[in-house]
């Protein structure tokens, strides 16, 4: 019951207005590396103004406990801000869960404070807030568990999965509709929250590791939309704006990710991803491949004038990014033009490879997007693929029966030579065979990515000395 929140003293509204502007500027400055850190400053300033404005709210009696909670939260936040860069995907999933947890708790508190005197519209946005928040909490925790590998990464599917999931959602929505008409039915509220929590788990269970970039983006969007719904409940425009910004950010990212995997738009919206991976278990026939040693690989790389390195999740798993940077340095010193080709869904979250390579001090102007570099592959002497598979699979262009048919890929098969660092001939995560490996121009470099790259670097520096 806080109608003052709406009108509020003018000062508070001005602080919220300034915070809204700063949030938009923060995202605007994020568009390129030179201005991006200014964006953080804008975001932080906006956040401080908003919190100060809120502390000035009318009717506040208990500042001590607010301070206690802020201090505890900061204490938890610092270690979460200092995790290893390789752990960023699971950290991000975890923070989606925290954000949605906050929104769900506030929604629940508001429900019990206001019921049964809740107008229909307010109850409907409150239900939106809590259902979206609830499913984001458990969905994000599941995603974080899969990324941290405390939960099995393989997709878990069963027949009728979509029917079960949609029925759960339908029941939650039915309860919401009933609550809108009968705001006094408080005994139903816990069921609605419980079902949305279960729904979140069910939503992420069928999703495999390779689909994580889409899922994380989608959960990001849900978290934003639930915060915007909370803004409607509290009649607070700053919350609506921040939620809308976050919601559209997650939405755009999930659209980019789904396009990069050739998934349809509805497929993303209804969360029915992950099924593709399970279906393809074609019989492997033993076809001949050519393999090479680190010495041979070093020789070919040293003789090249244009090299493109294609990193994938395997590079992150092997923690090979620093060795890859050494390879980049060794080749650049010899006058070889080395660039990196980054597929939008390489890794486990949007932009994952860029962050890992930036951490290893690879200059960001050497990191190329798929569309930028694809036209150049016919002029490339060597494409070196490190821990990537599906994003280089030419079957996506030619084989209509392939589960990844239609997915845009990096055209490495057009370069003069292809080298693939891979542990063994076992198919990658999605279980799809890659015809690239059997081409005449392809050399397979079998071994751990980090060890193999280290050996190539040794060869290059040894030959030089």
């Amino acid at each position: 019951m806080n109608p003052e929140f709406a009108g509020g003293p003018l000062l508070i509204q001005i602080l919220y207005l300034a915070a809204s502007a700063l949030f938009i500027l923060a995202l605007k400055w994020m568009n390129a590396p030179p201005t991006a850190r200014r964006g953080i400053l804008a975001g932080e300033t906006g956040m401080v103004l908003a919190i100060v404005g809120t502390l000035l709210q009318h009717g506040m009696v208990d500042y001590k406990w607010i301070l206690v909670a802020l201090v505890i939260g900061s204490g938890i936040g610092v270690p979460l801000g200092l995790v290893q860069m390789t752990a960023v995907p699971q950290r991000t999933a975890l923070s989606h869960a925290f954000g949605a947890f906050c929104v769900t708790l506030v929604g629940t508190a508001e429900f019990y404070l206001r019921t049964p005197k809740v107008p229909g519209f307010m109850m409907s946005v409150l239900c939106c807030e809590v259902i979206l928040g609830g499913l984001t909490v458990t969905g994000s925790l599941m995603a974080a568990g899969k990324l941290q590998e405390v939960l099995p990464q393989r997709p878990i599917t069963y027949t009728g999965q979509n029917v079960v999931n949609l029925s759960l959602l339908a029941v939650a929505i039915a309860i919401a509709v009933y609550l809108v008409h009968n705001p006094g039915a408080t005994h139903l509220y816990p069921f609605m929250v419980g079902i949305s929590l279960v729904f979140g788990v069910m939503l992420v269970i069928p999703i495999g590791g390779a689909d994580m970039p889409t899922v994380i983006s989608l959960l990001n969007s849900y978290a934003g939309l639930s915060a915007a719904a909370m803004g409607f409940v509290l009649n607070n425009k700053l919350l609506i704006i921040a939620g809308a910004l976050d919601g559209s950010s997650g939405f755009i990212l999930s659209v980019i990710m789904s396009k990069a995997m050739n998934r349809s738009f509805t497929n993303v919206l209804f969360g029915a991803f992950g099924q593709v991976a399970a279906s393809s278990t074609t019989v492997q026939e033993a076809r001949p491949v050519k393999s090479a040693s680190p010495e041979e690989a070093a020789g070919i790389l040293a003789a090249a004038s244009k090299v493109v390195i294609v990193p994938g999740y395997g590079m992150a798993v092997a923690q090979a990014q620093h060795k890859v940077r050494e390879l980049f340095d060794a080749l650049s010193k010899r006058g070889v033009d080395v660039r990196f080709a980054i597929h939008p869904v390489a890794g486990r979250m949007p932009g994952h490879m860029n962050v890992l390579l930036a951490e290893a001090d690879v200059p960001y102007d050497r990191l190329m997007e798929m569309d930028e570099i694809n036209g150049d592959f016919p002029q490339v002497d060597v494409s070196l693929i490190i821990g990537a598979n599906d994003v280089t699979n030419p079957a996506a262009k030619t084989d209509t029966s392939s589960p990844i048919y239609g997915m845009p890929i990096l055209d490495v098969e057009k370069s003069h030579n292809v080298m693939v660092i891979k542990r063994s001939m076992n198919p990658g995560f999605a279980g799809i065979d890659n015809p690239l490996y059997y081409m005449d121009r392809t050399l397979m470099l079998f071994g751990d990515a980090k060890v193999f790259v280290t050996n190539i670097v040794k060869e290059l520096s040894g030959a030089h000395a």
């Binding site: 919190i51 406990w65 708790l105």
Partner: protein
Amino acid sequence: MGVSLIDGLFVFMLAGFIGFEVIKRISPLLHTPLMSITNALDAIAVIGAIVLVGRHESRLSFILGMLAIIAATSNIVGGFLITDRMLKMFKSSRPTKS
């Protein structure tokens, strides 16, 4: 209530379009830091929780509000911190060459 609903929808619609236009322009290079900063900004939900704790209207709302402040603050602090760490790592090769 009716007026503020419509107001709210206008604000939501405009902010959604601004978000769309601004975020569309962000280089894929920075998609990971983008996600971590939007996470931190989204934790603005903390202001709803602060009001719950500050007003202390019921024991339930107080406890839920405390937990909510803790969760959101950890996102604010952690989100800005890690975004800053990531952005510090992005270096161009051009200045070093000249």
